[in-house]
Amino acid sequence: MRIGIPGLGAAGERPGLLWWLLVALALIALMILPSRLNIAQQFNISIIFILALLALSMSFLWGYAGILSFGQTAFFGLGGYGFAVLALNLGETTFSLFAAILLAMLFAAIFGYFMIYGRISDIYLSVMTLVITLIFEKAIKSTSGEQYVIGKVRLNGQNGIPTVPSIKIPWHTAKELGIDGVFYLSAALLVLVYVGLRLLLTTPFGRVLVGIRENTRRIELLGYDSRRYKLAAFIISGGIAALSGVLFAVWNNFVAPEMFGLKRAAEVIVWVIVGGKSTLVGPIVGTAIVQMLKTNLGSQAVGEWLPLILGVVLMLVVLAFRDGLLPGIGGGIAWLCRRVRGGAT
């Protein structure tokens, strides 16, 4: 069941004029917004954009290529750590940003090759990605000794790497992006990645990808090597997760092993299932809702209860809503409308 909004078209179809208009409106709104907000609000909202990128990377892979990767946090963390180490060593950020993303994509390519080309079953793949991110976390946590140094940077194990520099403007390297700068950058990148993925899905590549999700065997009988497409999607989404990780490191000026952790990975899933994976906007909305709830509930008060609540929410959502929370509610409203209309005739 697909809930389409007229004029927008379902993902996979060429987007209509209305969609472009909405994207432009959103972009303009995002660019005007910071002047109306104070610093703290800008700070809190930028993290939503950054984490929404991570959610997007997972939902693209899950919703359109049919690969459920729990280990997007592996690329998220690799991006963050890669950027931190490179930027602190080189004292330069533009190259570090791209290099960190490429590093994560390279890792995605190698790991993905071993998993996808072996035609390991989907469910094993999901679990293996999770295993990878957990082992990354463990490995990084164990690097607290003084001997674990890359270039000039100590990895610091559990304590993470502080003083990660902000992004410097490439043509004016003396100036670093402030809080509003990070806001603009992450908002623009989120819109860019969203539009990019949306258009990618309308290309032949995207169509084959969706075809693989629907019926792998049929696509293969048509002569496509499904493994190549899956691997490509895996690498792309690894890159997006790494971008999110870099921005997170910049936003926080700090990276820590928790970036790889189970809790972070679980949160990504919560964002995606709250927003639903059948659209690309869904996960962004899901991230925004969950993050805003978290900020407004005051993580101080919830504090140690957070994992407990998160766990209960996860169990309830899975048991009650199959397609995600927003589509579930949307479906419920549609059902009610049908009932009401049915009652009237």
Binding site: I120, L262, V318
Partner: protein
């Protein structure tokens, strides 16, 4: 001689750890195809039950058995409340058990705090040459082997084992033969949980009980069962032997984290060569 004995001991011990942490998962994930991310937390609960039971004055061996039974019962409750609605929805099971895992870690942290609690095992040491070994780790090896052989015999030779295997192979057919498949699923899940609880009880004197205990094992356990392939028990034993050997040698030469990474890399390469796991080519067995 000395060196050889040392390696035999280390490898045997690593093998035992792999068997202990993955045997329950071999039943729940390998046989039932339920991806239970809370499996590590079952081990953790077993550890805490064991700690509480020894505090209440039970001898350690009894406390370990109590841990197994208690976690088995808990597993049955979990199956009734959550898992039974999710059979066949493999991804949803994964998410729900993940929620359960977070819930249990959070709950235990609130109840006991994040620090680790332990139980002393006073069995003393024994010597081979210059190096002394803890006698308790011999017990761990023996328990692991007994559990492995016992589980195998239980599935292979008892009537209940036959019914379970039949149900897992074709639940519809088993139901048509008059078997209450819901009950079988429930008991099998409970059995897998009980194995995890036992493992937690056995491991407590070595590693202590802390809320993060399960998280530190879950990755290893899943690698083992996945690398083992479609015959859960045979595959898990073979994978445990392989990974135990690597882990024993590498952790001795280097550190436990390096050995964990090494095991993971070997597993990834192995899955490229044998995507179905070690037992992927075997037709029958358990």
């Amino acid at each position: 001689m000395q060196l050889l004995a040392n390696y035999v001991y280390l490898i045997g011990y690593s093998f035992a750890i792999f068997v202990l942490i993955s045997l329950g998962l071999a039943v729940i994930f390998g046989m039932m195809r339920v991806i239970n991310l809370a499996q590590g937390e079952f081990i953790m609960l077993g550890a805490y039950v064991c700690v509480e039971a020894t505090k209440a004055g039970m001898p350690l061996w009894l406390a370990i058995i109590v841990a197994g039974l208690a976690v088995g019962a808990f597993g049955i409750v979990v199956e009734r409340l959550i898992i039974r609605f999710l059979y066949g929805r493999i991804l949803d099971t994964l998410l729900a058990t993940w929620g359960l895992s977070l819930f249990l870690v959070g709950g235990v942290t609130i109840l006991y705090g994040p620090q680790s609690e332990s139980v002393g095992a006073t069995l003393g040491n024994f010597q081979i040459g210059d190096i002394s070994y803890s006698r308790y780790s011999l017990v761990v090896i023996i328990v692991a082997v007994v559990l492995l052989v016992g589980t195998y015999a239980f599935w292979r030779f008892t009537r209940f084992g036959l019914i379970v295997r039949g149900t897992m192979q074709n639940a519809g057919m088993a139901a048509a033969m008059g078997i209450n498949t819901g009950l079988v699923y429930m008991l099998t899940f409970g059995f897998g949980a009980a194995l995890a609880g036992l493992a937690g009880g056995v491991l407590v004197p070595i590693v202590g009980a802390s809320p993060q205990l399960g998280v530190s094992y879950i990755a290893k356990a899943f690698i083992t069962v996945i690398a083992g392939g479609p015959l859960p028990l045979l595959g898990t034993s073979a994978a445990s032997a392989l990974f135990g050997t690597i882990d024993g040698i590498v952790s001795y030469k280097s550190s436990t984290v390096v050995s964990e990474v090494a095991v993971l890399l070997i597993a990834i390469v192995l899955l490229r060569l044998l995507p179905l796991g070690i037992t992927g080519r075997l037709r029958r067995g358990l």
